[in-house]
């Protein structure tokens, strides 16, 4: 029940928020979002680290005629992404107080619906259910960019919607194909359950395009590559990010891009192992190109938000090469990097949003000398910058180190190129930092009519959890990695023959506890 509760409570929240008077919306939404986060921590306590099997499973027939079920579960691959989603939502609600001023109830309702869609896609273990949530996530995001976005918001949001939809419809066809193919395994019934689809052995011909496994592989890959976004399908991202309101950017970079990489991890590689292995060179190559290209383009951006957006393209390139290195280092690094990117890029967008609220400009050239004017802001920005360029002791280092280690084992040459991305990342981030915070005071900073005010308590409260996580994840990565270790080992070991089982219910559920307490009480009597 816990998962369903987590997934569908936000819908209820959205309805509650819509009914509230405008003044009450923000505090109540914050309380509800925090409640959801605390509830999701229940997953951590109940999660069994020692097994790679699916936990908290729920399975109810949805369209039994076609073997489609409401089938959800969590394993080590999805656990942290679920928590990332529930963690970022209250942060975003708190952060949106300045940047969202109109239709406040509608904004929070959209945010909660988006949360449902994102959580749903991370826990769905049925291909059609996953597709439903995956597509559903477009709708609230579409409204978010389109209503609360910047000047060119309509262009950006329509582009975002159509681009993503175009990719995922081919995936829908591939899912339908797999469902018919699933008649061959199991009991001869159609099934959209991933556990059944994993057992399919699709015919594969190396070196040829026209064979089922390769075509299906590319149909799925296209959908996720657009979502990630991988070079050269990234063009929607800068537009969407620049036009989106700060909270939208945070959720887009923080969670929605991960739906793409998670898709590779959950669907593409396990379902089509031979094709994935054969075409891994392509993805490694495109990943490395994305890293370098994203970094180079980020370097020349005059707009801070666009710079961060292109840095996303670069960072997501790491995740891709880590996944397609097919070893434990690469995959766990990728999983870790997904979380890192959610935290550090999310934090960067929050910070850029905070300065934008003060000056209404994101143009780097207009700044300079901010360090003197806004000391607290500068310190926080510096910490996040360090995390983004993967300095040791911050979270970014752990992820990129693992990924590069994994890539090095897979291909030394590509790892060499990928490393240049780390250097380039330092270049664009630090250069931007220098231009914005040091040097002579820029036009906006020395404008005495609008003196800049440092971060207030609310904004510090927004940033504090992010900063804590940056160091926590950087210093004690094992707190996080331990939970996914079993799943990742299982994933790497059985890569060519992936399967998942459903964990047996542990006896430590509520009933057992109650009976044990009763027994103790009886014994005392």
């Amino acid at each position: 029940m816990l998962i369903s509760l987590l997934v569908f409570l936000p819908i209820l929240f959205a309805l509650i928020v819509l009914c509230l008077p405008v003044k009450m919306v923000r505090p109540i939404a914050l309380v509800l979002g925090t409640f959801e986060f605390i509830l999701s921590l229940g997953l951590l306590t109940a999660f069994d680290k020692s097994t790679a099997a699916l936990q908290f499973v729920e399975k109810i027939p949805w369209v039994p005629q076609l073997g489609i079920n409401y089938f959800v579960g969590i394993d080590g691959l999805s656990l942290w992404l679920v928590l990332l989603t529930t963690f970022l939502t209250p942060v975003i609600i708190l952060a949106s107080q300045e940047s969202v001023q109109k239709r406040i109830a509608g904004f929070h309702a959209a945010l909660f619906v988006l949360q449902t869609a994102m959580l749903g896609s991370f826990v769905a273990m049925d291909a059609v259910l996953f597709y439903t949530f995956f597509e559903l996530s477009l709708v609230p995001m579409y409204f978010m960019i389109g209503i609360w976005g910047g000047e060119r918001r309509i262009y950006a949001t329509v582009k975002f919607f159509i681009y993503t939809m175009a990719g995922s419809l081919l995936m829908l066809l591939a899912i339908i194909y797999l469902m018919y193919a699933s008649k061959e395994v199991g009991d001869g019934q159609m099934s959209a359950s991933l556990l059944d689809l994993y057992q399919l052995r699709l015919p594969f011909l190396a070196g040829q395009l026209i064979n089922p496994q390769t075509l299906l592989f590319f149909a799925f890959s296209l959908a996720f590559a657009i979502k990630v976004p991988m070079f050269p399908f990234h063009t929607w991202l800068p537009d969407a990010h620049v036009e989106a309101p700060t909270p939208g950017s945070v959720i887009l970079a923080g969670v929605m891009l991960k739906m793409g990489t998670y898709g590779f991890l959950r669907f593409v590689i396990p379902l089509f192992p031979e094709a994935a292995e054969y075409w891994s060179w392509l993805f490694l190559l495109v990943g490395v190109v994305g890293i370098v290209y994203g970094a180079l383009v980020a370097m020349v951006q005059p707009d801070m938000k666009k710079l961060v957006a292109y840095s996303s393209v670069s960072h997501m390139g790491y995740v891709i090469i880590g996944l397609f290195a097919f070893n434990a280092y690469g995959v766990s690094g990728s999983l870790y990097q997904m979380l890192n990117h959610g935290i550090s890029t999310g934090a960067l967008f929050l910070l850029v949003g905070m300065i934008y609220e003060r000056t209404h400009s994101r143009e780097i050239a207009k700044y300079g000398g901010l360090a003197k004017a806004l000391p607290i802001f500068t310190i926080l920005f510096f910490i996040v910058t360090l995390s983004s360029i993967a300095v040791p002791m911050t979270n970014g280092f752990v992820g990129e180190f693992f990924i590069l280690l994994g890539t090095f084992m897979a291909s030394k040459a590509l790892a060499g190129f990928a490393v240049t991305g780390v250097v380039l990342g330092a270049v664009y981030m630090l250069w931007m930092f220098k231009r914005v915070f040091f040097g002579e005071a820029g036009a906006l900073v020395k404008d005495h009519h609008h003196p800049l005010i440092d971060l207030n308590l609310r904004e510090i409260c927004v940033m504090l959890p992010m900063i804590i996580l940056i160091f926590w994840m950087g210093l004690f990565p094992n707190t996080f990695l331990n939970y996914s270790k079993a799943s990742i080992d299982h994933f790497v070991k059985n890569k060519d023959n992936y399967f998942l089982t459903i964990a047996e219910k542990k006896p430590t559920d509520l009933n057992a506890q109650v009976t044990s307490v009763l027994k103790i009480l009886e014994a005392k009597k």
Partner: protein, 489 residues
């Protein structure tokens, strides 16, 4: 009276009851020296008739009987299709009552014509014989020609009616000509006998092939299949909105059901050339409809082109049913899609009807500016309908497409489905445009709805709610459709 005739009459009782009750307001008017009875009472008579019809149809459900020496059958498809047609008629009457273009001195006639047209559709649904099919189509169409022309002050409606009438007559002639050819070669006009004779004739007998193609064309005209789609935008735009809502949905339900009966033959499996042509027609219908819709500002024209595109999707399911191995699954997809399409389209037209407070008004997409500001619930409902038309899960429209595509993929028709997908992607653009205007532009005065029309508002909101709820529980509808297709001759 002999018992056989009584039994036969019982089969057509729903339709007959509906027809007779729809005559009452008209009769009252005539007796009353041509004074129009109160529109509300006229509407009530219409609803009573529809309630009778639905109740009687329900009592016949699952019978699978024939009547009038096999010319008329009552099977799952006719029952399911009749429910749809009656439902659509009810909603269209709700939109028409009070609407600027149809209110006034002729509502009794209006009701009679619309109900007669619905009766024609039910005849078409029950037809097991090409002649009866022709009768059904003509009854349906003749009433529609007048209905289109009935919007009094509108010049466009006269033009539309005339266009529709002239081209429609051509199509009927072609259909009849095709029937003659088929009768000449098979020696019968019964669908089962045609289906039985077809495997031998279809690849050898040119005359039969020509006749078959002509029948397809004649039916294809009614559903606006490419290249017979050109009338649709003009007629849909010219007709009063309730009439457009009626004809863009109910006509498709009836005609596609008839298509299913025609295609329910093993012969088509061995006719690759017809398959090839049909595939091209379906693909072009999808592409032409979607691309043309992108360029429309007028909402009714946009929906007209979108209805052409949706005909294309249904054709995909029809081809999967007719030319593949698994007729039933394809037919299920078609019938399910017709249901979801009707619901979405009626709701969308309900919103257009609300924006028309005068007779000669044109509702453009720009008129929706800021609708979300003035009428948040209506705007949200239209957004749901648009997203459903675009096929975004978990709406009913998504599942409609899902079942049709899955039927086609089962028959390995990837090429066809691929184009369906391309069409869907294009369609997202123009279905999102109203949403953009409603939510993302500054509020304009145009979009303030000046009329109350509670029943139209109700139709809009109810269709949106149904689309969401039935989308989530689509398996129940699917089961009902499957049962009706199982129960087909």
């Amino acid at each position: 009276m002999n018992p056989k005739l009584l039994q036969d009459l019982l089969m057509i009782a729903p339709m007959a009851a509906l027809f007779l009750i729809s005559l009452i307001p008209l009769t009252i008017k005539v007796i009353n020296f041509n004074r129009e009875p109160k529109a509300f009472f006229t509407l009530i008579y219409g609803f009573i008739g529809l309630a009778f019809a639905i109740g009687l149809t329900a009592s016949l459900e699952g019978t699978k009987k024939t009547a009038f020496s096999n010319a008329v059958i009552m099977d799952g498809i006719s029952v399911w299709g009749s429910y749809l047609v009656y439902g659509i008629t009810a909603v269209s009457l709700m939109l028409a009552f009070d609407h600027a273009a149809t209110r006034g001195k002729q509502f009794a006639e209006f009701l009679f014509l619309m109900v007669s047209s619905a009766c024609g559709m039910v005849v078409l649904l029950m037809a097991n014989d090409l002649i009866v099919t022709f009768l059904g189509i003509e009854t349906m169409s003749l009433c529609l020609y007048i209905l289109v022309a009935m919007s009094k002050e509108e010049v466009l409606s006269k033009e539309a009616a005339f266009k529709y009438f002239v081209i429609g007559s051509f199509a009927s002639a072609i259909l009849l000509y095709g029937i003659a050819f088929i009768y000449g070669t098979v020696g019968s006009t019964y669908f089962p006998e045609i289906a039985a004779a077809a495997p031998k004739l279809i690849n050898t007998n040119r005359l039969f092939l020509v006749g078959f193609a002509m029948v397809i064309l004649g039916l294809g005209f009614k559903v606006a299949m490419f290249p017979l789609h050109a009338w649709a935008p003009d007629v849909y735009q010219g007709a009063a909105t309730p009439v457009t809502a009626f004809m863009s949905t109910a006509v498709k339900v009836a005609t596609f059901a008839s298509f299913l009966r025609l295609f329910n033959s093993e012969a088509l499996g061995s006719a690759p050339r017809i398959l090839e042509i049909m595939q091209w027609l379906a693909v072009l219908t999808i592409i032409v409809g979607n691309i043309a819709a992108v360029m429309q500002d007028n909402l009714k024209r946009m929906l007209a082109y979108s209805s052409i595109a949706h005909s294309g999707y249904i054709l995909v399911g029809l081809i999967a049913a007719g030319f593949g191995e698994n007729f039933k699954w394809g037919a299920t997809g078609v019938m399910f899609y017709l249901f979801s399409y009707s619901l979405m389209t009626l709701g969308s037209f309900a919103l257009i009807a609300l924006l028309e407070d005068k007779e000669d008004i044109k509702v453009n997409v720009q008129n929706l500016k800021g609708l979300a500001h003035h009428h948040p619930v209506l705007a949200l409902s239209l957004s749901v309908l648009m997203l459903s038309l675009a096929g975004i899960p978990p709406t009913l429209g998504f599942f409609g497409k899902f079942y049709i595509f899955s039927a086609a993929i089962e028959q390995d028709m990837y090429w066809l489905v691929f184009w369906g997908v391309i069409g869907s992607v294009i369609s997202v653009y123009f279905y999102l445009r109203p949403v953009v205007y409603m939510y993302m532009s500054e509020a304009g005065e145009d979009s303030r709805i000046k009329v109350t029309h509670y029943q139209t508002r109700f139709a809009l909101i109810a269709s949106a709610v149904l689309i969401l709820v039935l989308g989530l529980f689509s398996s129940t509808i699917l089961q009902a459709v499957q049962r009706s297709v199982e129960n087909m001759f």
